[in-house]
Symmetry: C3
């Protein structure tokens, strides 16, 4: 009766772990005498176990990875279904205390990832963090307490006390909790607007995401740092809902193509690549103008449906690289072309 | 037939007023010849009368209170049902002109609270402000004009012309308008991100909110000042709806645990304290990293369901106080540890 | 069977164009071999053709207009129904390269308006941009890919590379895509929070919008520039939905009167002018306090239902002008009264 048993439950990257998976061990929640029978309401699901390695990355940065020497920025996109439990063995291969703190899921104080709760890895230490999830349930009066499904994220919460320095250096990643029945994408991309960078890169070194015309593409967008940002994707739009899709004629949610992406916030959505607009090279960027001018711009290459390059696409990519180099050169000579 | 007649209609704090309450006096709206029979559509409800005192508060601050000498920052959490009218006699016990301006409810120009409409109290003056509310009604085409229900707020709009200086010094509070049938909380907390403070306090002096495991807790969050903020609560989440709850399987609203909280904006939500995560000390904070580092952090203590302290909670509280003192000492010696 | 055939399809201003209109020419979408039969799903609608002129405007500014010498800031409010196609012949009457880039609608790379895609007008050049729109359709699993309906906007994307300098000088406007059956307004106003201005004006020169008590008024709000803003309208509120209205008792969307309005974002809503509050002069302003103090404030004059001035309204308008002049004078003498 597991409706999603036959589907891929992990992003391609997270499949690299070879993590053992088994049936969930019933979890005992603290405070069994609590009202509303909280412990009994704990949903059943899969227990997923992975090991994450926090490591130095080139350029003085830090990353999470699913194997030693494989850390990336952002870290691996983690993905579970409501009801699943994710057990993360975090290996700290750096010389600083650090942690992993998730948004959206359930965790005891021991897995909070905060120095407040003495929940972090000392340098060289290995520590296990447990994240649980749940389905929605009745709250009374026709209302429901929400489940865990959403486009979430995780990050360090211990370097620089609140994680400020760990996040700045790259310790973050995306986390998806799905509902049974959610549509699954062909491709997934994580975009983190971190201070004045995208995934700790600035143009022209920002990621170029690629898909074929018509593929279902899932974007997971996360904000970090200290600056306000807005995320804009050219030629595509989505509903401002949990999934980015609408529920039907009665769903009056706004449809948007530009959304605030501020520190600690996250959202996600699915689009069909190039739907209604065709293949080509489409910009995604922060719409705060000076941020775009200063390099918070990247490319979404929608190839032809057979995977070939659309006419004009390579020329656009070349312009992107040439222009951004020009900007960089002008900046190094003291001219802030971004604010011209 | 008054569905909510038997329920508490005021927060505990606002009950202190002993405000007289009676049946509503039918209100005549300006411009009775207006289309759509606006006056006739005015819903019936209770008339609530209170007196608020705007007063100096220690530290050069200002506050609203329900009795002389009882001003607090934030001011009392006011609460009505859709259809109710709130009549506020505001006593200005300061030496500055000031006012009270609400969000979300209806008011004539005389109750606007703005100097533009000559609507304020001179120093020492008492003035009455009237706030009305309403239920939703048909707008045509299957659409409805929204009613007044929501998590709103009120603030000064006259010191420093637009209220800038009044708000900065503490003249603000929360306002809830409920729909009949809304779930009622066991505990209510108002959190105002005002410039670089929480309720005009910085850590470790920010409020520690307390509830027992499983209690229904209502947070009312308000933004003020000049900075962009995002509100994050550890280990709890809510739907981005009017109530923070979902309406069922067809409700695809996002579920979040981090939300923009910018000047003049407000939202609220209910959670079951510690649901699925257990008792403990949970942080709430601005997720703009430098803001957290600079003291926009507070604690939500979830006690055991019998009210006793959970294991490790006191130690966490002690760490919070010790750490923040350390930060303060470093800052006074010129080191901005927040940005390390 | 065209449900909206008898209704005005263009705002009053855009009616000035005398644009030829005919039945839609079936459009061939790139990549006909794409999955999901994207081309076949392209909805049918009207083809609308207009000419826009990008021109210098007094004060070193730039604007779009529907006839030579008629450029305004913001440009004309464009309005179509889902399924319609809008063909814009853009005449560049300036000495700079520039473009027009829309949000919310479909366009090929040639109509992207970005230098990345070599899509802009050289000085003096005329170029055609094509914007298409569509209705929602099934995505599977009970979900729908959203249609184009929404409160959108358009702007230059070529001066200063990402349009930074073009937007700063006034090259922007509103764009509405309606669903069949949407309620139509009596009045429409476009409000653009552009850097520290409203429609490139500061108080007391910001627009005063006027309507009669009870008229259905539509606000289209757009953010631009580099600053975070929040839009507040006194004495009126709206639902945070596509239309600003609710869909019924099951619609638990938040009701708001203050909303983030950050660069590249847009929203819109309809209210009945003065409903429940009466005629009068109501402020709209950025709720970031220093922004309001520095002039991001304007007036919404709700006249009596017969069009006459409400009691006290002229006095309020006079106060607005006198106060703002006072602020301006103090600023020129070095006193920043806004931050007092």
């Amino acid at each position: 009766m597991d409706e999603h048993a036959q589907r891929p439950r992990w992003s391609r990257r997270s499949m690299l772990t070879g993590a053992a998976a088994g049936l969930v061990t019933p979890l005992v929640v603290n405070g069994s005498a609590a009202p509303f029978n909280i412990a009994a309401a704990q949903p059943r699901g899969k227990l997923r176990q992975i090991t994450l390695y926090a490591e130095p990355v080139d350029g003085g940065l830090l990353g999470y990875g699913l194997a030693p020497g494989k850390a990336t920025i952002p870290g691996p996109l983690l993905e579970i279904y409501e009801g699943d439990t994710l057990e993360i063995e975090l290996v700290n291969s750096t010389d600083q205390r650090l942690s992993i703190h998730p948004h959206g899921v359930d965790y005891d104080v021991d897995s909070d990832g905060s120095p407040l709760n003495d929940s972090f890895n000392e340098p060289g230490e290995t520590r296990t963090y447990i994240w649980r999830s749940r389905t929605q349930r009745r709250a009374g009066g026709g209302f429901y307490l929400p489940g865990s499904a959403g486009y979430w994220h995780y990050h360090d919460h211990a370097i620089g006390d609140h994680g400020t320095a760990g996040i700045a250096r790259g310790l973050y990643g995306g986390l998806i909790v799905r509902k049974a029945g959610d549509l699954l994408p062909d491709k997934q991309f994580t975009i983190v607007f971190n201070e004045m960078s995208i995934n700790n890169k600035v143009a022209p070194d920002t990621p170029m995401f690629e898909a074929n015309h018509g593929q279902r593409v899932e974007f997971v967008c996360v904000g970090h740092g200290n600056q306000p940002h807005t995320f804009h994707l050219h030629a595509h739009r989505w509903a401002d809902t949990r999934t980015g899709l609408l529920g039907g004629d009665d769903d009056h949610s706004p449809v948007i193509d530009n959304k605030d992406l501020n520190p600690g916030c996250s959202f996600g959505f699915q689009v069909l690549a190039g739907e209604g607009v065709g293949p080509g090279v489409w910009m995604y960027h922060c719409h705060v103008q000076f941020h775009a001018d200063d390099g918070m711009v990247g490319l979404f290459l929608v190839r032809n449906s057979d995977g070939s390059m659309p006419a004009g696409a390579q020329e656009a990519i070349d312009r992107f690289h040439a222009h951004q180099h020009e900007v960089a050169e002008n900046k190094s000579s003291g001219t802030h072309t971004g604010h011209r």
